[in-house]
Each structure stands twice: as structure tokens, then as C-alpha cells.
């Protein structure tokens, strides 16, 4: 067995790990867990002191991914609240519409709830610990600087002066995947392919959270917010944790720069919106974080996500799905990590690992699911859905609910006028609707 420390003595090329995984996020940890369970020699290297402390989520985890890792595992996981309320909010000036969908079939007795809210500094270390229990080795506080290549194949990594060798190196190093760049599989990130997410964690007592969101003990709400980005392509989110709220927003940085709007300022304005403020009032902000998120979905997956001795998983491979009403990343990370592990286990020789990985990603439905949601990218690229649509929706509600003793104008007439007032046309909205139907 190879030495676990990276403390100076270099391994020889003969004493190889089966896999070295760069990054102890959910993709890396799930990969390590699956490999170690099959008695593979696996090392995870993480640049942070403790796993999770560089990572940010909105967020939530869809539970099926943990079930795929090991049935029942979710019951021990470091999770926050099971999501019982799916909410969509549309803001305009000081007005707000909030749709609340409550579906008991998402959380039936005896079955795993569909999703949980999570905090990464709790969840990630737990998953890494599970991988360790299976026999994986974990080295934290170490940054991998280089890949070692020989005849075009990746054979190991360099961290400072240390060299470590493996049959396969797995890049689980996140959205800014320097490893994939070093392997020559991706170029610099295109500015229009990413959003920047900012988030505050706001502490509040559990009872207050439950009261404000109409939740029972242990239940949670997940809310997407449209119309809170001052016209910048993006949106807000609000997740209820056990004793805190995760309030944040994602922005296309390119549009923020074009409009010369500071994303910090736009986000601080969101906190003060009366319909948001009443939810966070009396709370205490305990953390401010930021992270990039891939926004281009299926078409953003690099042309090639492997080469001999090297696989890309999770965010590093662009596995994020955003439909506007649901955002998936951590589940795809876990499932792609499992796919990578299965490929390494099944492949008879090293050259087979990459093609096998692609097969496993299809079996695991990562790539088919992303392909199916590809059309959303075009809808989300429609600039006026970020300000005019939420404004129009609020205008329509205003005309529905405003009773002032006057003869009401027909809803049809009023709505047509409001569409015009918002600088839109019925035709534009129909086209968007059609696009929407086609992409479903």
C-alpha cells in the first residue's frame, strides 16, 4: 500500500494508487466512496483545511443521488430540512407574487424525500468521512499544482515537491477546473457561460423559520425568485436550513458589467425588498460567500471529458442543469462521481476507462437528462424575462385584485394594455410560450 502522506517522499511509478481524486466535493467523495467500497486504493486531495470549506451551494440536494451511492445513506447524512414547499416568487418594485406548491407525494412515509436543503460545510465533510470509512485516504490542505503526463497519458499529480502516481486521476476540482485545463481538455471559461452566485447565510431560530414559511418541524421551503436582478440575466434563491436561511442570487457577470451594476449592490437591494425583508427580519448574517456556476447546460459540457488516465466529474465537467425553476448540480456531481468509479472498476485496461465512463454517464442518465433540458438555455437567454415578465405578472395581479368601485375593464382588454405598457407584445409572449412547450 502506498504511503498516505504527501510529506516529502515521492512514490515510485510502480506503487500507484488506483485513483487519485482532486477535490473533496460531492463528486470526488462519491467517486472515492464507490471505489473504496470495491477495495480500490484511492486518495482524495483537497486544497482546503477541511472538506466543504471552499464550497458553496444554493442550495439543495436531490436525494436520489445519495440513494444511488448507497440505499438508506441519506438517513445519516448531514442535511438541513426536507423540502416540502416548492416556491416561485416574482418581484417587481415593492410588489411580489409568490406561488407555493405543496405536494405530500414528494415526502411519503417510508420513502426517501425528494430533496433536502443543505449547507456544504456540514454535508461535504460528512460524505468524505463516509468515503474514509470505506477505506479511502484523504489528504487535506494540499493543492495539486500539476498533472504528470507521459506519452500523452496522465499518470499522476504534483503537489509542491511531491509526486504521486495513479492509474487514473479524477478531476473533481470544480467549476474553475485548472486540472482539466492542464490536461488540455478545456480552454479558459467563456464569460457568457457562467453565472456568479452570491449568498448570505442568515441565522434565525427554527421556530421562527417554521412560522414564517408555514412549515412543520423538519420541513423546508425552496424558493426561486425572478425579477430581483435589476434586469440582469439571473435570479434569486431562498432555502430554509435548520437554523438559518440561505438567501442569494445568481447573475450573468457579463450583463452586470455591461449595465455597470455592482452585483454586491443589487443583492443587498434584494434583502430590503419588503416581501423578502419580512422573512429575514431579526436574523443575523453569519456568512457571505460567492461561487461560479455553469449556466450553459448540455451545450456547455466540454467536447471531451476524459483522456487516458484522466476523467472529469461534477462541476469540472460542466454537469449543472438550470431550468429556471429547479437547479441541479450536487446530485449530478455525485452521480457522475459514481459513474467514474464504476468505469474505473469495470475497465479491463486504462484505455477503456474513458469510453466506459461515457457509457456509465448514459446509464446514470446524467447526459441524457442534461440533453433533455437543453432547450431551457434559449428561454433563459431571453433578456426580458428578468424584468418585464415579472413586472407584467405583478401588473396583471394588480388589475385582478384592485377593487375601487369603478366599472372594471375586461381582463382581456386590461392585460393586452399591460403587455403593451411593459414594452412587450402578445406575439413575443406566445413565441416564448411555444419555445417553453417545445423545450419541455
Amino acid at each position: 500500500m502506498p504511503e498516505s502522506s504527501l510529506g516529502g517522499e515521492n512514490m515510485s511509478e510502480e506503487e500507484k494508487f488506483d485513483a487519485i481524486i482532486i477535490g473533496a466535493g460531492p463528486a470526488g467523495a462519491a467517486c472515492a466512496y464507490t471505489l473504496a467500497k470495491e477495495d480500490k486504493e484511492v486518495l482524495i486531495i483537497e486544497r482546503a483545511d477541511t472538506p466543504g470549506s471552499k464550497n458553496v451551494t444554493g442550495g439543495r440536494l436531490y436525494t436520489y443521488a445519495l440513494e444511488m451511492l448507497d440505499a438508506g445513506l441519506y438517513a445519516q447524512a448531514a442535511l438541513e430540512r426536507k423540502v416540502t414547499h416548492e416556491q416561485i416568487m416574482m418581484l417587481s418594485r415593492d410588489r411580489a407574487i409568490c406561488i407555493d406548491y405543496h405536494d405530500p407525494s414528494f415526502n411519503t412515509e417510508g420513502a426517501a424525500p425528494i430533496s433536502y436543503t443543505i449547507l456544504r460545510a456540514n454535508f461535504d465533510p460528512w460524505l468524505v468521512e463516509k468515503a474514509e470509512e470505506m477505506g479511502a485516504m484523504v489528504a487535506c490542505g494540499i493543492k495539486v499544482n500539476e498533472l504528470i503526463e507521459k506519452e500523452g497519458k496522465v499518470i499522476g499529480i504534483k503537489a509542491g515537491e511531491d509526486e504521486m502516481y495513479a492509474h487514473v486521476v479524477v478531476a473533481a476540482d470544480g467549476v474553475n477546473s485548472f486540472m482539466a485545463q492542464k490536461a488540455g481538455l478545456i480552454n479558459d471559461i467563456e464569460a457568457n457561460s457562467v453565472g456568479v452566485g452570491v449568498k448570505e447565510v442568515i441565522e434565525l431560530p427554527a421556530e421562527i423559520i417554521e412560522k414564517r414559511f408555514n412549515l412543520k418541524k423538519g420541513e423546508g421551503a425552496a424558493r426561486m425568485i425572478l425579477g430581483c436582478t435589476e434586469g440582469i440575466h439571473g435570479g434569486g434563491f431562498l432555502y430554509t436550513n435548520k437554523d438559518s436561511l440561505s438567501l442569494g442570487a445568481v447573475f450573468m457577470p457579463e450583463e452586470a458589467a455591461e449595465k455597470r451594476k455592482s452585483i454586491h449592490e443589487v443583492f443587498q437591494n434584494l434583502k430590503m425588498h419588503p416581501s423578502i425583508y419580512q422573512l429575514i427580519e431579526g436574523g443575523e448574517t453569519v456568512e457571505y460567500s460567492a461561487h461560479l456556476v455553469t449556466e450553459s447546460g448540455y451545450r456547455g459540457i466540454p467536447r471531451k471529458i476524459y483522456k487516458e488516465g484522466f476523467l472529469m466529474v461534477g462541476d469540472a465537467a460542466g454537469f449543472v442543469m438550470n431550468t429556471g425553476y429547479s437547479i441541479r448540480g450536487i446530485d449530478l456531481a455525485i452521480v457522475s462521481g459514481i459513474a467514474a468509479a464504476r468505469a474505473i472498476i469495470k475497465a479491463q485496461d486504462n484505455a477503456e476507462v474513458g469510453p466506459q465512463y461515457m457509457q456509465e454517464l448514459h446509464n446514470n442518465k446524467v447526459i441524457p437528462a442534461m440533453k433533455a433540458a437543453d432547450g431551457y438555455f434559449d428561454i433563459l437567454g431571453t433578456p426580458w424575462i428578468y424584468d418585464k415578465v415579472p413586472n407584467l405578472a405583478n401588473d396583471v395581479f394588480n388589475s385582478l385584485f384592485r377593487v375601487n368601485g369603478q366599472v372594471p375593464v375586461s381582463i382581456k382588454k386590461e392585460t393586452t394594455a399591460l403587455i403593451k405598457e411593459n414594452g412587450l407584445s402578445v406575439w413575443q409572449l406566445m413565441k416564448l410560450g411555444l419555445k417553453g412547450v417545445r423545450s419541455l
Binding site: R47, L119, R120, N176, A256, K271, E287
Partner: protein, 97 residues
């Protein structure tokens, strides 16, 4: 403390940082920044670490960096001549994430 709009330094003071005093992980070539007209970094850095001084030149401090990489992605004139993650154990340590 109650909820209010907060300036970036105040928000950053809530986080735990272990600043690498020896090796900055982001380095600018301010001569290039001087010639950059758009200066997208002023708007997109969530930590507002890029600012203008009285002469209109970019000032930057890597100490409060949240390591998101947005400036790197947006810096089209390549005034950012180095952007790496901080060395192992250094940088931001999120306690919630």
C-alpha cells in the same frame, strides 16, 4: 444586529480568512488595467475588492477574496496576470457554505 444593507468589508469580516502573506494568488499588471476602458472587475467582484483610487487607477487587495473566479473570467484585457487558487490551507474558510 438586525438585517440591513451591508458594505462588502462588513460582510467579509464575518468570514474566516487565512491570508497567504507570502504569495498573493491574484496579481495584476496595473499598466494593462490603466488602459482597460470597461473595467468589468469593478462591478462583478462579489467582495468588491477592485476599486478606483482618486487618480482613477484600479486598487486591489486579494485578502478578502471569496475565490469565485469571476474576475478571472471577466478580465478580457488580461490585466490579471496571475489567478490561481491560494496555496493549500490558505484563503477563505466557509463555516456554512
Amino acid at each position: 444586529m438586525s438585517i440591513e444593507q451591508m458594505e462588502a468589508p462588513e460582510l467579509l469580516s464575518l468570514n474566516k480568512f487565512n491570508v497567504d502573506e507570502e504569495e498573493p494568488h491574484i496579481v495584476l499588471d496595473k499598466e494593462i488595467c490603466k488602459k482597460c476602458i470597461e473595467k468589468p472587475c469593478l462591478y462583478v467582484c462579489p467582495a468588491v475588492l477592485y476599486q478606483l483610487d482618486k487618480k482613477g487607477d484600479i486598487t486591489f487587495d486579494y485578502a478578502g477574496c471569496l475565490e469565485c473566479g469571476t474576475c478571472r473570467v471577466m478580465c478580457k484585457n488580461h490585466g490579471i496576470v496571475k489567478w490561481e487558487y491560494p496555496r493549500g490551507t490558505f484563503g477563505v474558510s466557509l463555516r456554512h457554505g
